[in-house]
């Protein structure tokens, strides 16, 4: 679980953080303006490719993608 959090956090930082801002597992990503809703598609695709899962579009909501912790919960639902 910790590995997954670190992998997702590193992806988010590499993809979306342009300056030296720190993010934590609970930093609001979408409501905090770090990831725009446009970019959620590529984040979803990264998760699906990385964890060999399929996340239904109606589950890939801004709320479900709003922090590293929430994303991990969502991924875990489909890993089972």
């Amino acid at each position: 679980m910790e590995d997954m959090k670190e992998i997702i956090k590193a992806y988010v930082i590499n993809e979306y953080v342009e300056d030296d801002s720190e993010i934590t597992y609970d930093t609001p990503l979408i409501s905090g303006g770090i990831v725009d809703s446009f970019s959620m598609v590529s984040l979803k695709r990264f998760l699906e490719n990385k964890y060999k899962i399929s996340i239904p579009d109606d589950k890939a909501t801004p709320e479900a993608f709003d922090s590293v912790n929430k994303i991990c919960s969502l991924v875990n639902e489909y890993l089972k």
Binding site: E18, F38, S39, V41, S42, R45, F46, N49
Partner: protein, 415 residues
Amino acid sequence: MAYSDKVRGSYQEILTGMKNAGLLKVERYIHSAQAADIEVEFPTGAPLKKVINICANNYLGLSSHPEVVKAAHAGLDSHGYGMSSVRFICGTQDIHRQLEQMVTKFLGTEDTILFPSCMDANAGVFEAVLTKDDVMISDRLVHASIVDGIRLCSAMHDTFKHSDMAHLEEKLQLHNDKRLKMVITDGVFSMDGDTAKLDQMADLCEKYDAMLFCDDSHASGFIGKTGRGTHEKCGVMGRMDIITTTFGKGLGGASGGCVSGRKELVEMCRQKARPYLFSNTIAPPVVAGVIKVLEILSATTERRDKLEKNTEFWRKGLTDIGLIIKEGDTPIVPVMLFNAKLSQDVSRDLYEEGIYAIGFFFPVVPQSQARIRTQISAGHEIHHLEKALDAFKKVGKKYNILGKSKQEIIEMYGM
């Protein structure tokens, strides 16, 4: 009446908020033709002021060129004022197809279709050639019109970091299972004046079987040895799948745009692109003017050569007096001031000195990247540029920014 006081008040509140935040755009009235020397009324009601214009997209100085004006007059006489129809009903004249063929030859593509503007070309092209099974991968700094076009298309969208080829390759790998892939970029980026790495992008597109799209609005007519555009500069003429460009900048400056590229993609636009299907095309006098522009540019490289020399002189001059500019070799030369208010103060003082240049700040450019964007033209003579440099020197001295580093300017004026 549905426009009640409540409704009016809500809009007034928004506009007042924009004004108070310094985000309200105010137009300046130019009483002369577009050129290096113009007469401006600003603020509204003020006496006319003669100023040197260094913020137009009039890169080749053709906006008021006598031969272009004469050709437009002749086009008005021979083909009328307007068509009162979209292209596929009864809105296509011989000169529309003639211009399409001339653009095809000039850009070295397979076919071309005209649009009312490049904004319309970018709004319509993606939806016309891609579907929900496809992916668009765009540079993060592409023009707003491309962003809008992408939003109108059902294909998946992803981005890569500005000009970062390793990141682009990661994205091409990530989306390699998609039916069709299109990589999307500007040729010359309008705010920083830097150039896309089209040679590397073309290689990556070949490697991953992706199409390559470039908006060359700030390049057509003058970038590359014979002015064909960024694809000529990067040595990839013939390898571009789609080029969009405008006739509203270097190519005469009036209006209109086009999609030029693979013949099947152009035909898809002719059949499906909504701004093409549901809007009149370019008016006959403008078409005649652009035809003349392409004749001039195909006959000689004199104007783009002069622009290149002017640009070198200007970039060196600004650097020599100690201002910070964005490095590059295009005629878009941003003078970096970093602080938003400083960019507005410097712009105002330059105007007092007879130089018309505009300050840009967030959200048009990123936070702490405020600047004066200067744009050089073949219509400028060296005396214009010398006067503008004198003004920058005087105003720069007033604000104590000459020879100062970014850090020092930020320490004095803040981010």
